[in-house]
Symmetry: C2
Subunit: 235 residues, 2 copies
DNA sequence: GCATAGACTGTACGGCGTATAGTTGTTGAG
DNA sequence: CTCAACAACTATACGCCGTACAGTCTATGC
């Protein structure tokens, strides 16, 4: 007969990148908890142990996903722009990628512990900060901070939790909003007042990100060598 | 005979708080992955299912731990101080608590998804930001940002990973440093240059935190109503 | 034609969270 | 003093998980 069983799932040979593809797809669709070796293997029409030919263990698979994510981030900047704009565009492109893969932030946080593979983007970031006048030490801190700021902005988006339906998300937000609004107002006046903004829906996600990035960039500018001293609260 | 078996492990009745105590202790000592229902039960000299009398499920236990952590954070500020100092002291006290429980940041990130219990601290933060002139919407974003900044500063501390020995940490850092230093310098000049700061040991953890808080506060000050417009990169 | 090595399967182990049902020890009413 | 009722816990079991270890195909080079 023909080499393929035809009526069944098509089965070419696996490869690292094919596995990573499918894994990312699965994680994005159903949340990172759904990404198990066994589930992924089923999805690929294969025995769980087959994956261990391509990856030493699950940790290495996750690292592969993180690599893929980093590969998708555009790590270039407009050389003509001023450094704050360059820094902003780097951060924004990171955020874009994180938002386009709902599982990405969880993934990167997990894989941060290992040697991470985001060399390219980090290099560019450091270069931008160097031009801004920061020494290696400050630049390192800021670059790290930028990465985590991106992660945190995505993870702190109200009601963010990949692998749940839109109704669940809305329901959860509504519940929280009610909980907040029904706190004793004389004890928690600001909290009650802020019940709505604190549980803002995806409508103003753009405000969330815009403001978050602004806040970060403004901080870096204020710390830049040559910035007007300003009124700091520092010790 | 006497009511207690004496020679055996003393066994008073369990309670939510006793369980939380022991759980936190375990998580801090051996990392959050070591905090399993079975392990915790063993530690308490009890059947795993016994814990389910006091907690609906593991998620609720984690929420209990998060509550405990939040309870330890000092949520008061010097009313005489200027708002940037107040904001700073809030953030610093959060960081203090997170650093004193090595499992705390992982814990809080997990429990953030649920209604979180940090009402008190959030209320004070919002009040401080209100005095600074921010409206509820901006104040909410900044308060959220402050919380996540604290989390991220602790989690991004170089080599941070609870439940590993000091030697492991040092070894891992050294390895990463070598990896960085041996990248092609003409392709990654800044990265190679920053190899040491990027993998800085606990010696200058204080710099890490100091600078991180400075950066955040400076950003908030720059965004404050009435701040000099400055040279922003904003659109 | 056949050994070899790469890619995969089969089976099993120990650990996880937890559903369900059964067993105690204490307590307060009769 | 008895005994039902209830709180607090135990026993057992199920279906997941990651993965160690050993066996089995299958394509390829000689």
């Amino acid at each position: 007969m023909a080499p393929a069983k035809a009526a069944q799932v098509e089965r070419t040979r696996l490869s690292r990148s094919a596995v990573v593809d499918r894994a990312l797809q699965l994680a994005d669709a159903e949340g990172i908890d759904a990404l198990t070796i066994r589930r992924l293997a089923t999805e690929l029409g294969v025995t769980p142990m087959a994956l261990y030919w391509h990856f030493r263990n699950k940790e290495e698979l996750i690292a592969g996903l993180a690599d893929r994510i980093w590969g998708e981030t555009r790590g270039d900047v407009d050389p003509a722009a001023a450094w704050p704009r360059q820094l902003r565009s780097l951060l924004e492109s990171l955020i874009d990628v994180l938002r386009s893969h709902s599982s990405a932030s969880a993934l990167l946080i997990d894989s941060e512990k290992l040697g991470s593979s985001h060399w390219q983007v980090t290099e560019v970031t450091l270069e931008v900060l160097h031009k801004a006048g920061f020494d290696a030490m400050h630049a390192s801190e800021i670059a790290r901070s930028a990465l985590w700021t991106g992660l945190m902005l995505v993870m702190s988006e109200a009601g963010f939790d990949p692998g749940i339906t839109e109704e669940e998300r809305a329901e959860r937000l509504r519940r929280k909003q009610v909980e907040l609004a029904s706190l004793p107002p004389q004890r928690y006046p600001r909290l009650v007042e802020a019940a709505v903004p604190l549980t803002a829906c995806s409508d103003d996600a753009s405000f969330h990100y815009q403001f978050g990035v602004d806040l970060f960039i403004a901080g870096v500018q204020a710390m830049a060598p040559g910035a007007l001293p300003g009124r700091h609260g520092g010790s």
